[in-house]
């Protein structure tokens, strides 16, 4: 929370590092099937833009 409250306001031209493809706040495209395999073998799911339940005969 302290970090969030001390956020700086970046202009678009200051976001060269933030806009790097590997800085994206999400799963990589290549991880898509890994998330499915994990949901088949683990009871927990969700909060990762993957499956939360339903859609297949798994979790």
């Amino acid at each position: 929370m302290m970090s969030v409250s001390s956020c700086v306001h970046l202009k678009e031209y200051q976001k060269n590092r933030i806009n790097d493809a590997e800085m994206a706040l999400g799963n990589r495209k290549v991880e898509k099937n890994e998330l499915n395999f994990q949901s088949y073998r683990e009871a927990a799911s969700g909060a990762n833009a993957g499956k939360t339940g339903g859609g297949c005969g798994c979790n």
Binding site: S3, V4, S6, C7, V8, H9, L10, E12, Q14, K15, R17, I18, D20, A21, E22, M23, A24, L25, G26, R28, K29, V30, E31, K32, N33, E34, N36, F37, Q38, Y40, R41, E42, A43, A44, S45, G46, A47, N48, A49, T52, G53, G54, G55, C56, G57, N59
Partner: protein, 426 residues
């Protein structure tokens, strides 16, 4: 001299008026009047330059997965868990509109998996059931983005079909950026309406019926059986908030709320009681899940990106879980990176789980599916990403290529490996 002085004052006043017009929102309709501070040729903000429908990107992801273990749910918590799976997904994203004002995107996806499961042979006690199966899952999503307002709205639909399971899904999603465009709020509500085909282990099918089916993946024997189905419904709401902290760090918070009802087990999963008698697993018809996660990415120095993730999970079946992961993307060149990663996972057992021949016949709910056992797991591996400006292998349209390998092991002795390839075309 007076004329010069008045000219300068007049020029100054004209400049001040135009500066004021630039910082204040116009209350009058735009005119095409001449202004000394308006560069010639610069388009007015209100001009809309839509582009016709065109393909924005195509993504292909393929994975090969293989695992082994010794606690198959089909045979009551014992027996081989040998599985192989080939998964393929293709997404096509088309856009139209003005990318600086309002833009629509339509993403059409198709996925196809084929798996083999050694334990599926024992849906029939003789071990003669079909071990292979396929699944196809198309999807479609339409999103409308207002770039000026920093908001978007979209709807999506999904279908999945395999021999013993059909699913229809739909979702609505929304996002809104903060005024300074450094933060973004996202929300999504989703529902799945599934049908579980009631394929029982062979010893539980009345011998008198003419619709005997003994395989979770089709009989392969030409039987056209009318197998009843049971519904399973899933409703979820997902909220997220991302924030840029500084020029090197950004964070995202995620929370889902999930409610499921209906037939939540699988009808061909056996349970052996402590008396030696076997039965079909029996789970509650309701389940509530609450995962909460956080992501933090940090650009360290000039060449290293740290990608971290943590999730806490709890549900109404008594499972509590922690997930933590760290990936280090090392930019060997601006266009080639190597990313070793590690993920730790642990969970407590569900209230209704017990191993082989541990359940009592008086238990109300019971399962020996080791997905609900207590364990912890490690997943580690490495990925490679190539994204040169002239395209991968000199092919301009092949924008990026990623290759990734991971090794997974649980304290239940389940071990698996996965290799994935992703190709991005623009």
């Amino acid at each position: 001299m007076r004329k010069v002085y008045l000219s300068i004052v007049g020029f100054s006043l004209l400049c001040r008026l135009n500066v004021s017009a630039q910082i204040k929102q116009d209350s009058l309709p735009q005119t095409t009047g001449i202004s000394l501070f308006k560069p010639i040729g610069q388009p007015e903000p209100s001009e809309y330059h839509p582009r016709g429908l065109h393909i924005d990107e195509i993504n292909l992801v393929s994975s090969y997965y293989w695992q082994n273990g010794d606690h198959s749910a089909v045979t009551g918590g014992i027996g081989t868990e040998k599985v192989t799976d080939i998964s393929n997904g293709l997404d096509l994203k088309m856009v139209w509109g003005d990318p600086k004002v309002k833009q629509n995107s339509l993403t059409v996806g198709i996925g196809f998996d084929h798996h083999t499961s050694a334990s599926a042979a024992y849906v029939n006690l003789s071990g003669a059931s079909n071990t292979g199966g396929s699944r196809i899952y198309p999807s479609i999503d339409w999103t409308r983005e207002n770039v000026k307002k920093g908001s978007s709205f979209g709807i999506g639909a999904y279908y999945s079909g395999e021999y013993n399971y059909q699913s229809l899904g739909a979702d609505v999603h929304f996002s809104q950026k903060t005024a300074d465009k450094n933060g973004e709020f996202t929300a999504k509500v989703q529902a799945y309406f599934d049908q579980v085909k009631m394929i029982y282990p062979s010893e539980f099918i009345p011998q008198s019926t003419s619709t005997v089916v003994t395989s979770a993946s089709g009989t392969g024997e030409g039987h056209k059986a009318n197998i009843p189905s049971s519904p399973r419904n899933t409703y979820s709401a997902s909220l997220g908030y991302s924030q840029i902290i500084n020029s090197r760090m950004q964070v995202m918070f995620l929370v889902d709320g999930v409610a499921q009802n209906g037939y939540l087990g699988l009808p061909f999963h056996r349970v052996y009681f402590n008396t030696g008698k076997d039965t079909i697993e029996h789970l509650p018809s309701n389940r509530f899940k609450l995962p909460v996660g956080v992501r933090l990415n940090y650009f360290l120095g000039d060449n290293i990106i740290l990608r971290s993730y943590y999730r806490y999970y709890m549900d109404s079946w008594g499972v509590k879980s922690n997930t933590a992961g760290l990936e280090t993307a090392i930019k060997v060149t601006p266009f080639f990176s190597i990313s070793p990663f590690y993920r730790y996972y642990d969970q407590t057992a569900a209230k209704y789980f017990a191993p082989y021949e541990a359940h009592s016949p008086t238990d109300e709910y019971y399962t020996s599916n080791y997905e609900y056992a207590q364990f912890h797991a490690n997943f580690y591996g490495v990925g490679f990403r190539v994204a040169p400006p002239k395209g991968v292998f000199g092919w301009q349209n092949l924008h990026d290529l990623e290759l990734r390998y991971g090794h997974y092991s649980q304290t239940t002795d389940l071990v698996s490996n996965v290799v994935s390839l992703s190709l991005g075309f623009k």
